[in-house]
């Protein structure tokens, strides 16, 4: 598949929220941009499947979710990294912006679902995604940006400027398996 330029895509949010310094650090054969309405066909779910169960919901349901997220004002910011050679997605991650009453109607950015395809790991793509999402979060006025990670990933996130805070506790809905995140 030939590479599709941003101008030919219907994006989740405006491209200029992604900081130039992150774009500059990417290998030249890769491109970082907002999720687009046609990224189902570029392997978005396949990349997410490195994290947890990600059944193929089909293009129509995927697109419907895309439009639901986009219609939620200034809340969901999901990025993808695309190979210019194949037009396929090799990495993704998102941040959503929570609005609070405390901290002077403060906002908190929650980074979620950072995934890099198996063949592209070790190229610091996860780091670039985190840097871009943290920038977007702070630019949106968040007083803090948080993420949850396994013990083995703590040193990586500390290098990204994050510090340990609290414990994440989870309760699974009845009848749904406890599937650890990898």
């Amino acid at each position: 598949m030939p590479f599709t330029p941003d101008a030919a895509l219907d994006l989740l949010f405006t491209e200029d929220l992604i900081p130039q310094h992150v774009k500059n650090e990417l290998p030249s054969e890769l491109h970082i941009r907002p999720l687009s309405s046609t990224d189902y066909g570029r392997g978005h779910l396949s990349v997410l499947s490195v994290l947890t169960q990600t059944p193929d919901v089909g293009a129509a349901a995927w697109e419907s979710q895309f439009h639901t997220l986009r219609s939620t004002p200034a809340t969901y910011y999901i990025l993808v990294i695309v190979s210019r050679d194949t037009d396929q997605i090799v990495g993704t991650g998102g941040v959503f912006i929570e609005r609070k009453f405390l901290r002077g109607l403060g906002r908190v950015g929650h980074i979620e679902d950072i995934a890099v395809s198996h063949g592209m790991q070790g190229k610091k793509l996860g780091l670039r995604i985190i840097q871009a999402l943290t920038h977007i979060s702070e630019n949106a006025g968040c007083y803090k940006t948080i993420l949850n990670c396994s013990d083995s990933n703590i040193p990586f996130y500390e290098k990204c400027g994050f510090e340990k805070r609290e414990k994440e506790m989870a309760k699974y809905a009845a009848g749904r398996a406890h599937t650890p995140r990898l």
Copy 2:
């Protein structure tokens, strides 16, 4: 102030999402309901101030935030517990529903900002708020409900059916103090 019945209030979401079994467990002088558009005047920010910095933003800004949250479709569910004697808020907590692509367009409920006023602690109000929010989250189709807590609160949340998962990492925006949550 005389107690204001739900029917006289403009609520954040429909009252019948709060499970009856939680209402039944509350002391009779207390009432649990969705946040209302006039709860600025019932001490909502004062209760939140037990958690962290909660400056008084004024009634107009508070109400504007209320309407922003309500206009975000099926995302923010904030509860309050009100004293029938004083019509003042004595406890609050919220869950917001995140929509994902993985897990078959799965949803995760994030419980945030559980606060009980100092004079009302020890009455299991936090537990009742958690039970109601978890019910709302699961009823909204979330495959899991998560929260972040300090080590000292882990036994409490384990009793609520939650299990330890990951570490929360946080990055504070430049120029904003690192204020630990109490």
